[in-house]
Structure formats: C-alpha cells, structure tokens
Amino acid sequence: MRSALVVAVTFVALSLALNAQRERTASIPTGNTPLISEADALRPVPRLPDGRVDLTGPWVGGGSNADIEREGGLKPGELPLLPWARKLLASRLEQDEPYTICLPMSVPRINPFPWKFGMSYTSHGLTHIYVLHELGDSGAHRVVHMDGRKHPPDLLPTWWGHSIGWFEGDTLVIDTVGYNDKFWFDSRGTPHTEQLHTIERWTRLNFGTMINDFTLDDPGAFSRPVQLKFTARHVRPDVDLMEFICNEDNQYGVAGGFTPAQPDR
C-alpha cells in the first residue's frame, strides 16, 4: 500500500515537473513575439466603455505569411488561381519579394510580429480604426473608415487600398478595394491584380483569440471568390508595439550574392 502511494506520488510529481519543464522550455524566448498564457487567453472578450467589443490587441497572426493557401485553410492546389497567375507564382523567387526592400506587405499578410487595431474615437464617435503594425511597412498605417462612407469611384491604386468598415454584432467587417498589384500575398509569391476586393470579418472569440474570416475576390487572377480563415493570438501583457525602421541598415542579399529585385514603376 505504501509502495503504491510512493509510486502514485512519484508519478504525479514527474508529470508536474515535466509540464513545468515544457512550459519553461517553451517560454524561453527564441525571438518570437511572446504570446499570452493559455489561461489568460480564455478570459472573456473585453468591452469598451460604450459597450462595443474591444478588438485592440496587440495581436500576432491573423493572416498569411509563407503560403496563403495552406495558412488560409485550403488544401494544396485548392486556391483557384487562373493559369497566368499560377505561372507567375511558379516563376517568382522568394528573394524578389517587395518586402525584402522594405515595401509594404499589405493584406492579408501578417508576419509574426505584433499589430493592433487602434480604435479611434472623436466627437463623432468611433470614426476610424487604424491598423498599426510594428513593422510599419515603410511607415504605413492602414486606415479603416468607420463613418459610413462608401468607396470613392476611380481610386488610384495604393499598397493598402481604401477600407470602409462597420460592425455586424460583435464582428468587425472591413471591405477594401483600390489595391495596387505590387505586393505579394505570401513569401512564395501568390499574385493578385488591381481588381482585388477583400472582405475581412474579425471576430474575437475570447480574450486571447480572434478569427479573421477572409473573402478574397479577384476576378483578374482567380476563377472565383475564395473563403479563407486565419487566427490571431494576443501577445503577453507586457508586450506592445516597438519602433522598426526597416531601411536603416538593410543588408539583404549580400550574404547570398544577389541584389533583390526592384518593383515595377
């Protein structure tokens, strides 16, 4: 009886120690942005003083990075690229991605660093939400007009497009057109055209988790609209956005003996 008790206690002790070891090893930082603990992630969704859901963050993830097809939840080959776009994707080299010379990643690209929704109130209420990304992407912030306006006609194409947003219950809907065709959806080079129209539906499930139900509609490069899904996670409470000036000492290419491509003008 006593030996069984010893065995049981040892077993429990071993499990606890192994869990502690796993947690501590996992929490030794290796360069990734530290995330909120599992326990804190499960806390309820916070609200702003006016009762609106608080989507601030900062967050990590919630978009594409290396492969929009896989990361968006599709099977290999399932992304309905038109033949010319598939060919372009196959010909692109990772090293030529505009981001390597500090140009914007745009939507829905979210690299592994923190970003936040800056919910901006004026005397007219919540008129804007700004998407602030630590990487800044050449000093850019993304503007989401929340004041009920429509997209203007004849937009000049830009890196981030023109975004209008509204709430459907607790889900933030962001509708964007007016993108240029210069950025890549992922580091492997999935292309798009100026016909791109994106719809993001951001829903915060609990304190630490937010889903991006993403509609990609680009008849210039895709045979039909596509539904993708990404998940964002909240950062650890002591983490906030820091400065990042991409151009100050960009030595990309020298070690590999190449010059990154310049974008089309």
Binding site: A13, L14, L16, A17, L18, A20, Q21, R24, T25, A26, I28, P29, T30, G31, N32, T33, P34, N65, A66, E71, L93, E94, Q95, E97, Y99, T100, C102, N111, P112, F113, E134, L135, S187, V239, M242, E243, F244, I245, C246, N247, E248, D249, N250, Q251, Y252, G253, V254, A255, G256, G257, F258
Partner: protein
C-alpha cells in the same frame, strides 16, 4: 536551473518552428554550420536585423570579421537584451550558418560570453525557425 524536484531545465535550440517568412534559404546555407570563438568588434542595433560583428583569429593569426545576422532589435530586446548586454571587446563563443556566397556573413543561431558558455545571450532555432523573417524581425 533546477526545479524543486531536481530536474534540469534544458535550453532547447530547436524551438517550435515559426511560420516560414523568408530569407534563410535565400542567403544562408544550412550545411555550413559554424562554431567559433572570437572578440566582439561591434554590436549593431539596427533594423531590419541586428548584427554582431565578431573578430575571429585563425591558427595562422589571420583575423576575419564575421558579420552575424540576428533578428530585429525589438525581437532581441524581447529576449531580454539591453544596451549593455554585449559590448565590443567581449570574448564570445557563437554558432551559426554561413552565407551562401559570402561565408563570413552568417545567420546567428546562438551566442554566449566565453566565460559563461552555458548561458546563451541569444538563441534562435535552426534554419526552420530562423526563417522568421526578413526584413521582418
């Protein structure tokens, strides 16, 4: 570090791989693993990626300055670095992967002060995890 139950917590070099960003395979060679000792020449707190320049002297007395790329200053600070964590003149042991064309331009995997080799100042998982980002972080 020891827990109450006497287990040693090991620092693992193979961190959970992050989503591949880009950069490692375009510039560095996973087969050119290096482990060297040298003297810090300069710690460059610049974006998009910090660099530590380390003078390594070979058996014949020739000095090569290794240009070792880390992650962004933000990421390194989040690993616990401050401005005085590593200074010119300090002796270090470092591991990394050499550049495909310029071998002495490497991707830094690990660095520690020579008098505390088991207390790394910076750890980055292997090529999979090192692919976090360029110019990203």
């Amino acid at each position: 570090m020891r827990t109450k139950l006497g287990f040693v917590i090991a620092v693992s070099l193979s961190a959970a791989p992050v989503l591949a960003h880009h950069g490692f395979d375009t510039e560095y060679d996973a087969a050119k693993k290096v482990k060297l000792a040298g003297v810090v020449k300069q710690v460059s707190w610049t974006n998009p990626h910090m660099r530590v320049y380390i003078d390594v002297t070979d058996a014949s007395g020739t000095v090569t300055t290794w240009n070792m790329e880390m992650t962004s200053p933000n990421s390194v600070q989040r690993q616990g670095w401050g401005r005085n964590s590593l200074l010119p003149g300090e002796k270090v042991i470092f591991e990394g992967y050499g550049g495909k064309v310029v071998e002495s331009r490497g991707s830094l995997a690990r660095i520690s002060k020579a008098d505390a080799p088991d207390k790394p100042l910076f750890v980055q998982g292997g090529p999979e995890a090192a692919r976090e980002g360029f110019p990203g972080q």
